[in-house]
């Protein structure tokens, strides 16, 4: 894992799910604890109504919303406006999650996935590159 700069590795039985994460991770300490004992997530359970889970056995898959372009990341439509999304907000494929400004053009970025925003990965007003993770979605 060290060779490939992986800091998180998760595994789940039954409906086999594998999660690898590159680079430093905030959850490193908790996630290294084996997740083998986790119960497989029933497909019908909506994330909001799922029973609270201890972090160490967080086995719900996380989707990433990644940047499709090079530009500056903004969380809201205007400097004094409210952010498009926050942690805990539900999104569907067409939900606008942020703006990436490239060459003076404000591009609205859609989630293209559905779920709940688990983490905001990019910093407001900072440059992002192609493929950079913007949001983690649960």
């Amino acid at each position: 894992m060290k060779k490939h700069d992986l800091s998180v590795f998760e595994i789940e039985k039954e409906g086999f799910r594998l999660k690898l994460e590159k680079g430093p991770s905030v959850q490193a300490a908790a996630a290294i604890a084996p997740a083998v004992a986790a119960q497989p997530e029933p497909a019908s359970t909506a994330p909001e109504t799922a029973p609270p889970r201890p972090k160490a056995i967080e086995s719900v898959p996380l989707n990433d919303i990644v940047s499709p372009m090079v530009g500056t990341f903004y969380r809201s439509a205007s400097p004094e406006g409210a952010p498009f999304v926050d942690v805990g907000k539900s999104v569907t494929e067409d939900t606008v999650v942020c703006i990436i400004e490239a060459m003076k053009v404000m591009n609205e970025i859609k989630a293209e996935t559905s779920g709940v925003i688990a983490e905001v990965m990019a910093e407001n007003g900072k440059p992002v590159q192609f493929g950079q993770v913007l949001f983690r979605v649960r």
Partner: protein, 461 residues
Amino acid sequence: MFEKVLIANRGEIALRVIRACKELGIRTLAVYSDADVDSLHVQLADESICIGAAPSLESYLKIDRIMSAAEIGDVDAIHPGYGFLAENPHFVEVCESCNIKFIGPSSRAMQAMGDKNAARACARKAGVPVTPGSDGIVETEDEAIRIAKKLGYPVMIKAAAGGGGRGMRSAHNEPSLKSAFHSARHEAQKAFGNEQVYLEKLIVNPHHIEFQIVADSHGRVVHLGERDCSIQRRNQKVIEECPSPLMTPSLRKKMGSAAIKLAKSVGYENAGTIEFLVDQDRHFYFMEMNTRIQVEHTVTEEVYACDLVKEQIRIAAGQPLSPHIAHAVPRLHAIECRINAEDPANDFQATPGRIDFYYAPGGRGVRIDSHVYTGYTVPPYYDSLIAKIITVGATRTNAIDRMRRALGEYYITGIKTTVPFHAAMMRNGDFRDGNYDTGLLDRLVSAGKLELASPPIRLRE
């Protein structure tokens, strides 16, 4: 002088540009695709931004993402290298409108020379001899037949939007002309999005001799002699040398003047190369102009004692031609061998993959321009050039023997490379005698005349 430059390229030329910038004290911003995240030039650049997925169309050709990276990085100038966007006039215009200096000619000059057929017209106008050919685009089969009859077979059908040895078909008689005409147009449409073709008389067994010109923004244009690039495999250069074994002082003077005249006539600025074909009787004909720095600029640098990439940057920053370039005098002889990730024992099939071990030769008079290293994976998405080895010698024979010596030390495992092929060429009698033309290599390869030896050394990996 610029404070920060974006390098819109990859591989060995990106490394070349970064080296020049570092020596000039300029900060560098590398843009790269997913496939090049481990590239040497990305690590050496002061900053780097990922601009897309591996395929060139999704990264290195994405003008909007490159400009966005330029804006974020707050760069003063962009160096396009060669290939990709280096000869894209639209890209130059975008740079101009964003107030970012494109290190190269203006979009107008680039456009004038970019259309190969229009370039011939420019040459004619400037009184520079051109290969006898059609007066412009040939639209119909009947027209092609008529013109070919007048020129005399064999003829070459060339794409107006082509270049770099691509988009060309030869025809030796009328029946083959008909099919070649239509397939050339079809190929041109597919490869360049433009089906326009023109005809040229096919000069049999010519030398490909090109002249390096350097022009500043104050109207001064000089030439730095010629390079002989006749050793080609399927119209792709593999070995280049400076000076040309065919050249004489008076021919150099005539061709050099023609090159300067042509560059001046289109208001050319920065580095560029004028390519000529020279027949057995030493008649020279303009073929095309490359409005960028070339792969083989290295041999000119070694013989004329200059750094062409640094000069490109200086010119773009508005400085007049450096005195050492304006008064450059050739000394010594230089040869370059392009080392590709290809298997010479297997029809030069591309061999991308991980380089398990890489040891490059050294010693006096050996220069290596390469971005690869032990453990580096050559990606399959781009050209197969992994290194350029250049040797310098007091005489042509010295340079050849030095190359032969150096290639014997070049140790690359994990992938196949063309090192053994070049070693065989350095032993080849015709090459050593300077007795070659653009057809030599293909003849040697198809006759199986090149003995590929295994490397004499084995290193513990």
